[in-house]
Every structure is written in C-alpha cells, then in structure tokens.
Amino acid sequence: MGYPHKTHPRETAILSKHFGDSEARSLDGWKQRGGYRALEQALSTPPAEIVDAVKASGLRGRGGAGFPTGMKWSFMKPGDGKPHYLCCNADESEPGTFKDREIMRWTPHALVEGCAIGAHAIGAETAYVYIRGEFQEPIDQMESAVSEAYAAGILGANAMGSGKRVDVHVHKGAGAYICGEETALMESLEGKRGNPRIKPPFPAVSGLFAKPTTINNVETLVAVPHILTNGAEWYKAMSLSNPKSTGTKLFSVCGNVSRPGTYEVVLGFPFKDFLYDLCGGPQAGRKFKAVIPGGASVPIQTMEEAEATLMDYEGFVAQGTMLGSGGIIVFDDHQSMPRMIARLARFFAHESCGQCTQCREGTAWTTKILERIVAGQGTFEDLDTLLEIADNMTGKTICVLSDSCAVPVVSGLQKFRHEFEALITGRRSSTVAMGGKPSAGGSALTTGAGV
C-alpha cells in the first residue's frame, strides 16, 4: 500500500498489506493474518525443495543488484560440515529508500518468518538481522518480535516443534552506509570497521566468520513466505513486462511529489502512471524535472526517460538507469540539479570507508569541486575535471561506492549540463531556487567525524 496513504487501486499490496495496521505487529495479530503458516510448512520441507520453489518463482534480490534469490541460495552446499549463516541486510541507507523500514516497523514477524525460512533453506541455524543504528523503532519492533517468537517456540532449539534449530538475532549498526554492502556488513557484524572485502572469496564460500553465508535484503526475505504459501507459479505470473522480472516490488517515493510513500506494484508497471497517478504527480504549480529511480547510486533520468520506463529490472536499464533499491527520488523544476548532486556527492564522501584511494580521495575532491560550483566559484575546466575524476573512480575499487558517487555526477553533467554552466557563467535560471550553500552550515561537519 502507499503507506502512509491508502492503498491505490492499481497497487498490488502483498508485502505492504498490513502497513499502518498496528495489530499486525504482535505475534497474535500476525498469526491471525496468516503468519508463520509458511514457516511451519517450510520446516517440514526439504531445503532443496524450498530453493527450487524460490528459483521457479523468479524472485530476484530486492536490495539493488537483482540477483536471482533461488540461485544465490543454491550456492550454499548442504552437508559440507560447516556452520552456515544467513544475514538479513536491513541496513537500508541508500538515499531515497525507506521500504524495509516500513516492513520492519509494521510487519516485524514477516521478517522473522522470512529469515527462519531462509535459514532453513540454506542449511543455517543462525540468522542475523543487521539493522542500521538510526532505525530505533524498527529495531525495537524486530527485537520484540524475535523475543515473542522465541517465547512461543517458533525460534530456538526446536523451531515450531520441527526438531530443527533456528536462531534469529538482531544486530544494531552504528551509522555507516557502507555496511549495506554485503561484505562490509559481514565485517561490521564481526566487530570490525565496515570495510568491504575483496571478492573472491564470495560469501557462499567464505562469508560471515569465514563460513558459508548468504546475505538477503529484507524485502526479498519477506516475499518468500508468500511464494511458499501461494506457489511459485502464482508469483511468477505477476509480471507486467519482462518475464525475468516477477512479483511485486516495494517502491519508496520521496522528494517533490504530492504523495510520498511506499507503494507496491507488480514489476513492469508503467513509471509514468506510477508517478502521476499513484504518487499524485508534482506538487501544485510545479513540474517534475528529474528522477533518480533506484536510490542515489543509479543514473539520473530526465522526465522523458522516466515517463517511457516500465518499472522492472530490464525496463529501468532500457531507459539508461537501474531499478536499484527501488528508492525513487523526484526533483521538480524548483530544484537546482547541481546543488542536489553536490549534496549526494557529499553523502558519498561522508560514507566512503576510505580503504581505496580512488574512493577516499575522489569522493571528497568531487564534493569540493561541486560545492565550489554551487557557490558560484566554478570554472568550465572543473566540469572536465569532474568527468575525469568520475572515470577514475569507476570500476577500479573494491566495492561500488566510488562508482556510485560518480554516477549522479556523470549523468547529471550529461543531462543537466546547462545548469552547471549557468552557475559558472553567473546566470541564474529564474525557476531554480538557489541556495548560497549546499546546505545549512557548510560541509565541515557532515564530512567530518562523528560528534
């Protein structure tokens, strides 16, 4: 549903059906709504069958990469004599993305159930739910759901009387976007700095505590009980465009739209209808200018591109961007794109772990140049330099944070170069409200250390 708004008739509310319904949070409430039947069924099903069902459903990772979930699970070799781990990536930090927050706030038991099924499917006894530290309310909801589930015997040494051990633990992060990168998440869980690891080895070979590990996004895991209950065919049938993109997807929408919120549609939904119909279009008197459709790390779309997009993994790629995390940021004609892009660059500079040279230095340099341009001190050479730095930051580092910082810079300069040039030549677009500074107080603090 379009939480905090009512479900739009064109939505397909499966995962989000109970958003806003506080009674769904408790174990009793969740059971009344059909909760834990899928887990009970799963615990008496051989793991391989669950993996096959998820494979057949076409479910792909909802965290950003879109890797087929069933295939990822099949990398976990049963009977290798090693402990296996499931990590649930609930470090939702991609700017524009807040869907997992709603899942955990309103339906924490759905995630407990998804984790337990996932753990069983990959031969793990332990699942860790790594939740970003700022999400205190989701953490509280998850902790209370976990303790209810233990008290009811759903989790523990004999999960739902199956004789199988399933433990789920909530692990609180402490302020680091990069821990949403799966190997950084594992490092952080191990009590280390959140530095991404070099791959290979891949997590399924040597992951958390050097043991075979699978990392799944919150939304991915909560989709699994529905697949088991309703069947892979049912899930697979939900596809409006490309058959490789199946099921429903939560899209969180923010920025300059009339009705920001979390919407659930079947993949392949027309983006134009989504923006103007479901989200209510632009605010009164404004026009949409640009969209970042998959969290801050994907290329910016012009409205022409956005309106031609079908909302699935392939559809976004066809229009020059990516589905990513499904965090849609909409900018209207009152926004300065250089200012928005400068602020995104600052975000990435702040969040870079600092391991790789290109990212550590490149994100900070990019930010300084962009902030100088926004302050009216830019030169045309700066634009060339920005593109060269971006090139230097792309495809050369351990993880893709560096690439992510380059993406809005490159796509922004490609599609909104005139706005940068206007700032350099001193001309101001009359419709663009210019801040003198990129944001309150300047950059010293947010690019500085924690206070």
């Binding site: 600092g354 230095e361 230097n392």
Partner: protein, 516 residues
C-alpha cells in the same frame, strides 16, 4: 607434493609460475615491476591502494595484481594505456592532499610516491581546493607519524597486527578523514616496531633517530649482517662520510624475512666510535705493522696462548686464531653476553636472541670454547691474547696473572696497562667476512666504510702473525681465508664467498629448513 605450474604472458613475456602465485609476484619473475603501495610480500594482502591494477585480457575490469592469482593462458598488460591511466589516476589522487614537501621530507629519494610520480605521474595537479591537515604525532619508540603524507596503505597496521601480534596501530575515522592512530599510552615500543618505518612506502612514518640526519641519495649502502644477536638478520649498512648513519633490514626469507629488531637497528653508534686503536703498538709505543707483528710472534715463545675473543668476530678470525693456538698451544675462549629473548610472532623462528653475539655458533664449530668465565685459569705461563674484547671488561686479575698480554682489537687499549703488543683491526663494517648464525647459516658481511688510521682487517693481521710464527698463510683477501677454512673444516665444506652469495648457506648438518 608439487604445486602445478601455470603458464601466462606478462608484458609479452611468457612465464611459468606455481599455481596460486599473484600476478604481481609472477610479474617479478618476468622482470616486470608492477607499481604498488599496500602490497608487501611480508604482509597479508589488503588490495586497497589500487595502484597495482593491471589489464588482464578478457577480464571485465582492471584487476588488482596483488590479489589476483595467475591463471593458465592469462595475458597481462602492465604498461598499456588502460593500466597506465589508472595508475596516473591513483597518483594524482594520492597527491591532492599531500603537502608536496619533498625538500624537507626524510623519505625523499627513497619514496615510492615520489618515484612513481616521477616515472609515470602527471606533471601538474588539477587540485584547486584547500588541503586537509593533521598534526604530526609521536607514535612512541623510534617512530614519528606525519599524517599529511600518509597514503593509508595500512602496511604499518597490518605489520603490528598480523606480524607483531600486538595491534597497537589502527585506522581511525573513515573516508578522507581516515588517519593511522595508536591507543593512548600504547606507543610503538615493541621489540620489532621500528619495521613500520621501513614498510611505510612514503614519508608518513619516520625514524626519530634518523630524522634530518641525511638525504637518501647521499648514503652509501652495503650488504651486511647484524651482529646484535645470534639470529644474524640480513641488513644494509648505510653510511655517509664514512660514518654509519642507519641500518635497515635486507630481505632473506631463510633468516629474517623482511625485518630486523629495534635493538639491532638502533645499535650502530659503536661502529663509529672515536676511541679506536689506530696504530700498531709494541714496546710501549706506536710502531710499524711489521715490528708489532714480530713482537706478537716473539711473545708466544715459551708460553701457551690463552685467547679471549669477541664472539661476534668472523669465522675467518676464529679459523686463523685456531691455527695460531694449534701452533702455539692453548685455547680460544669466549663468553656470550645475554639479554632477553624477543620473538617476532608472525615470522617463523625469528627472534631477538638471548645470545647477544653474532658468531658463537661459528666460533664453536671452529674449536673455540664457550664459557661464562673466559679468563679463568690465566697464569704466568700464558700469553693472554685479547681479540676485540672491550678493554674495560677485562678483569684486572687476569691481566696481572698473565705472563704477557697482546691486544688485537678495535678499541683504545690504554686502560689495559702493560701490553706486549697491540694490533689495530677493522670492525665488522670495515671489513669483509662471514659469520654463522645460531641455526648454522653462514652469511657474508661486506665492507661498508674505511677503517681508521692504520687498522687492518683482522684476518690480515692474524695471517701476518701466522707467517711470523713460521706458518704458511699467504692470504690476500677474506675470501681466500674463507676458502681455506672451507677446505679445512668439514661443516663448511664446499663453501666459498661466491657460493654463499648474499643470502648465505647452511653448514653441513644443519636441519634443512630450520636455518633461521
């Protein structure tokens, strides 16, 4: 079990290396140096500096050569445009916040950032923003940290953690605010901590001892062996104006890996001591070498030799002393100073040894007698021959009991009182020779500076004494003495300076693979 070999091509050169070798190490075999910062053969791979990215044909992206294993049929380009552009990019980024203070930086001349920038970096910088600044910090021990020059390669952090086993260094903060940090009250005072200065590829970690002392290009460098203990770490002796100014470890996987301890590293001032014996003496005054040598030989008449020798002296010296006592009768004695043992946990069988002398093993193999009381038993029938012992450490009782005393050494012997003769010799960095470490590794040291005054290499002085005693000893170099030793002493059989090279060879009977 043999590791299968993998064939690949690096910069057009076909090579074959064992499976599991990194591209970076394989390139060394092919004679290609892939520029790198965070990689070090003595440390776990970090893969963070991104300097060693290379173009591997059919790979979607440039690959970090330090963290990528070779594969059959791989074709690797190190110097094509794609790889070179990536390195140029890294160099530019490493320099944007760098103070560019080479003229006042100790690392200048031996700085990998300077070298690679000179070789293939941009001639200018496009950086127009303020540079970040962090104050210089004293890291304790001999180490100073200049964060503005730091490239966050984390070699120092990994050394202290993975090799030293005492993780007192860490990266603090993140992103471009990241710096190396220590915990309060936990400085780099560990026995091997000074290695972080050598490991640092730039001027961020500096030796306080060496600070502002010399420019790297003014130094002369000679391969040598540390005489601080019986480990025999391979070192480079660095001199300026005929004075030793710095010791650095020289890699030898069989002995010391890439490291040396701080005690050995900082214990070099005695090599420059000014209170040296600089001229031969006999009859109470300075004289010519021939006369002094003849005086020594004459003093042997009717007496047995009681030789007390410094156990850091070379194999050649002990061999020649052995020949002298064989002729004159008597024995060679030595005592080994003791200290506390300080292992480096991350390297097998590497330790600052309790035996604080370099060649006790060689001395014993060559017939000298180890004892806690080397002067015991000196009597009027003895000629006491002191070979490079510290004059102040010679017991007065032994001096007065001896029938006569001859001093062959480096230090000014005037404290010893009445001497029949004194022969000035070169110290370890003033001559060539070999020493044998506690595991039986025979290793060469090379002359690094000139001996003062009339001092001669000890083998030279002792060979002349032998000749004066009527023996045949026409050696013209330390190498010839060693060859004679090798011919005469079975543990050393077949060895020569050439066969030892600069990494040494184990004596016969040493346990294979346990030569450190």
């Amino acid at each position: 079990m043999t590791t299968p070999m993998v064939n690949l091509t690096i910069e057009g050169r076909p090579i074959s290396v064992p499976a599991g070798t990194s591209i970076l190490e394989a390139a060394k075999v092919a004679g290609v140096l892939i520029p790198h910062y965070c990689y070090h053969p003595g440390l776990p791979v970090a893969g963070v500096c991104r300097m060693c990215l290379v173009d591997v044909e059919n790979a979607p992206k440039l690959m970090p050569s330090c963290a990528t294993s070779v594969a059959e049929g791989q074709v690797v380009h190190v110097h094509n445009d794609k790889s070179l552009d990536a390195r140029k990019g890294v160099l530019e980024l490493l320099l944007i916040n760098h103070p560019l203070d080479c003229p006042i930086c100790d690392q200048s001349g031996e700085c990998e950032l300077q070298d690679y920038t000179f070789q293939e970096g941009r001639a200018d910088s496009r950086y127009r923003e303020p540079k970040r600044f962090n104050p210089v910090e004293d890291f304790g021990g001999d180490v100073m940290y200049v964060p503005n020059r730091c490239i966050l390669c984390t070699r120092c952090v990994r050394f202290m953690d993975d090799v030293h086993g005492d993780p007192v260094l860490a990266v603090a903060e993140r992103g471009d605010r990241a710096v190396i940090t220590t915990a309060p009250d936990a400085g780099l005072t560990q026995a091997w901590a000074g290695n972080v200065v050598d490991l640092c590829p730039v001027g961020a970690l500096l030796s306080k001892d060496f600070l502002n002392k010399a420019r790297a290009w003014e130094l002369d460098r000679s391969a040598s062996v540390c005489t601080g203990c019986s480990q025999g770490c391979n070192i480079v002796v660095e001199t300026r104006d005929n004075a030793v100014v710095r010791l650095k470890p020289r890699a030898n996987e069989a002995v010391n890996g890439h490291f040396m301890c701080d005690e050995g590293r900082l214990n070099y001032r005695w090599l420059n001591r000014m209170d040296r014996l600089v001229a031969p003496m006999a009859g109470g005054g300075e004289t010519e070498w021939d006369l002094a040598t003849a005086a020594v030989a004459a003093t042997f008449a009717g007496k047995k030799a009681h030789v007390v020798a410094n156990p850091s002296l070379s194999n050649e010296v002990f061999f020649l002393l052995g020949r002298i006592v064989a002729k004159a009768g008597g024995a060679i004695h030595f005592a080994v100073p003791q200290g506390s043992e300080a292992p480096l946990p991350g390297v097998e069988d590497l330790s600052l040894r309790a035996d604080r002398a370099a060649n006790a093993t060689g001395a014993e193999l060559l017939g000298a007698l180890r004892s806690d009381h080397p002067y015991a038993g000196v009597s009027g029938g003895h000629l006491l021959v002191l070979v490079d012992v510290e004059p102040s450490a010679v017991p007065a009782a032994a001096l007065s009991a001896a029938g006569a005393v001859v001093f062959i050494g480096t230090a000014d012997p005037s404290k010893l009182g009445r001497l029949a003769a004194a022969l000035p010799i070169a110290n370890v960095v003033e001559s060539d020779g070999t020493i044998t470490n506690l595991r039986g590794r025979v290793q060469r040291f090379l002359q690094a500076k000139a001996a003062p005054g009339h001092a001669r290499p000890a083998w030279y002085a002792l060979a002349d004494v032998l000749i004066a005693l009527g023996e045949k000893a026409d050696y013209h170099s330390a190498s010839e003495v060693f060859s004679a030793l090798a011919a005469a002493k079975p543990p050393f059989a077949g060895m020569s300076f050439d066969s030892l090279g600069l990494k040494g060879t184990d004596v016969a009977g040493a346990v294979a693979g346990a030569s450190r």
